[in-house]
Amino acid sequence: MSFQSAAKVTLRDAQLRRNVGKATGLIRAKRERAVAELPDWEALRDAGEAIKARTMATLPEQLERLEAAVTAAGGTVHWARDGAEANAIVASIAKQHGADEVIKVKSLATDEIGMNEALEAEGIHALETDLAELIVQLDPEDKQSHILVPAIHRNRAEIRALFERTIAQGQTLGYEASAIAEAARLHLRHKFLTVPVAVSGANFAVAETGTVGVVESEGNGRMCLTLPRVLVTLMGIEKVLPAWQDLEVFLQLLPRSSTAERMNPYTSLWTGVREGDGPQEFHLVLLDGGRSQVLADEVGRAALHCIRCSACLNVCPVYERVGGQAYESVYPGPIGAILTPQLRGLGEAPSLPWASSLCGACYEVCPVKIDIPSILIHLRGRVVREEKSSLTPEALAMKGMAAAFATRRRYEAAQRLARLGRGPLAKAALPGWTAMRDLPEPPKETFRDWWRRERES
């Protein structure tokens, strides 16, 4: 479905719009305060951008360093060209350990490749342990709508009802957030202690040391990362960082941008395996999944710098109105509009680069300074040139207008037609406008007619 049609559907859902509007409004104000506390915020953003750009320029080398360091620390590195390969690797590891269930740390990369469904098809149930992911997973009709808070579109009453139906097994729950969380806690605790295999994503992986990191708020991730015997981490190849010291920059940028916290409650960093402490087997799966193709586009590649903080979603006026599901991807909002079409191929999501008014709010907050509006414009150009015929009505109108603007004589003729509601200028502007807005009365004379009359006679 095109973004326009999907948005038409979600825009009709007033409850969703209220839920999303309220949640993004709150987090937006909090982020602003958290960022204002740091006098060197702009310098940090510059540093974040520079580190990411440098990493992308040397990506193959960084990945090989990472592989060597992880292996030296006792881990195993796997390379996956696409989602299917990655899913097969994870399934085979789970099977080797006889697991019919794995517990999961919240991970966008695994959602991107549909890992839960792929494992299910192999007879392995993947249980989400992040509270919001769990909420979405428990409702077969539901889908994630936000990078950080996948259930941002649901309010407390809806979640309470869902839990009563599912994990609380018909029991009545209290109205307080703590009572609802307790139901999830009871359900999950048992799993943490018994399931032998955990699957996670990664926020960072340091090539220098082979250290992999996950930041989170709940501590459920920490449980998955430390209790099971076997840990499998799936990571997009763009998540690598060259040096340990680079973490200094991102561990400041990420929490303030994403949850508006000075520091996130749980930062888990692990390097390979250590006897008697944590998982005794560690696998790192490096996923390409279209990323090298993104890297080949010099303008578009900055989308790979994203650290998934979700700040751009929270400030986006389009996202705020339509919600995440209209983007039909695990990456919604402004970052989704530039990442999804590049990862899947422009032909697969050709309307997404237009899902923006180019207001620039995303670029203003992005902690790694991804110029999302410029990339949107760039991708629009690519869609028009690579995916569309040069004979669409729009293309012809644009061509007509470019021709009209090319000489003064033709331009002035087109102006006269436009004032009569005809010709290339009017054709491009009229349809779709007047359904909901009035058009101003056309002026009696154009500016240049006035000037000619007043000044030159």
């Binding site: 207001c359 709010a361 603007f405 101003p440």
Partner: protein
């Protein structure tokens, strides 16, 4: 000072009033204004809609038409931002009106009087591409008799976005209705801004809703001597 007026195709055709006001205002402040008739369009709409390949000629044309001038002034923040970014050879000499008044002419009080209740919508491109900051508000505050009311959620996009307003009309309208609600909350008679494109969008809804609130380009208020 001698300046060229870059009116923009949009204002030339649909909102000549904004251009006339710029001329009146600049002449009152002692500038000699010229209007190069060969000007047409800066190419912004083509570039932003994915037709950058059709805009090259327009960029070249812009340079040909305006190159001889030391300063070019325009009543459109959006088009000035486009020129600055895409036509770097001439960009630094092209100014949005409020930038020009404050930074080049060094005036804040332009001698206007406009005894009405007014609210100001800053527009995304003024704020985030040109970084004009509070320049427009500083100019408005000096206008005699004006009752300037702050607009809630002022920094939020009104939902125009060029072809976005038509291509994603439903989303655009959802954004617009919030903007209009904030405008009505101010009980202002006039909603003003540095871009007539956003104003056409906001004004279109104000008019459809028969609210009685008018839209005016900021130049028209700064030129007024009621």
């Amino acid at each position: 000072m001698k300046v060229a007026l870059f009116i923009t195709c949009f204002n030339d055709t649909l909102f000549p009033g904004a251009g006339k006001a710029v001329v009146r205002l600049l002449e009152r402040l002692g500038c000699q204004v010229e209007f190069p008739f060969e000007q047409t369009c800066c190419g912004q709409m083509h570039v932003n809609s994915g037709y950058a390949h059709e805009a090259g000629g327009l960029h070249e044309r812009f340079v040909r038409v305006f190159d001889e001038f030391e300063a070019v002034v325009s009543p459109s923040a959006s088009c000035v931002a486009h020129v600055r970014e895409r036509i770097p050879s001439i960009g630094p000499r092209v100014f949005e009106l409020t930038e020009f008044l404050i930074d080049e002419l060094g005036v804040v009080d332009v001698g206007a009087s406009f005894p009405h209740r007014v609210t100001f919508h800053p527009t995304c491109h003024s704020l985030r591409l040109l970084h004009v900051g509070d320049r427009p508000l500083r100019l408005l505050r000096e206008v005699r008799g004006i009752d300037l009311v702050e607009l809630d959620g002022a920094r939020e996009c009104c939902g125009f976005g060029g072809t976005f307003a038509v291509k994603n009309a439903d989303t655009s309208m959802a954004m617009l209705s919030d903007k209009v609600r904030h405008v009505l909350d101010t009980r202002a008679e006039v909603c003003t801004s540095a871009d007539t494109s956003c104003l056409m969008h906001i004004g279109g809804a104000l008019s459809r809703g028969r609210t009685g609130v008018r839209t005016m380009h900021i130049a028209e208020i700064l030129a007024a001597q009621e």
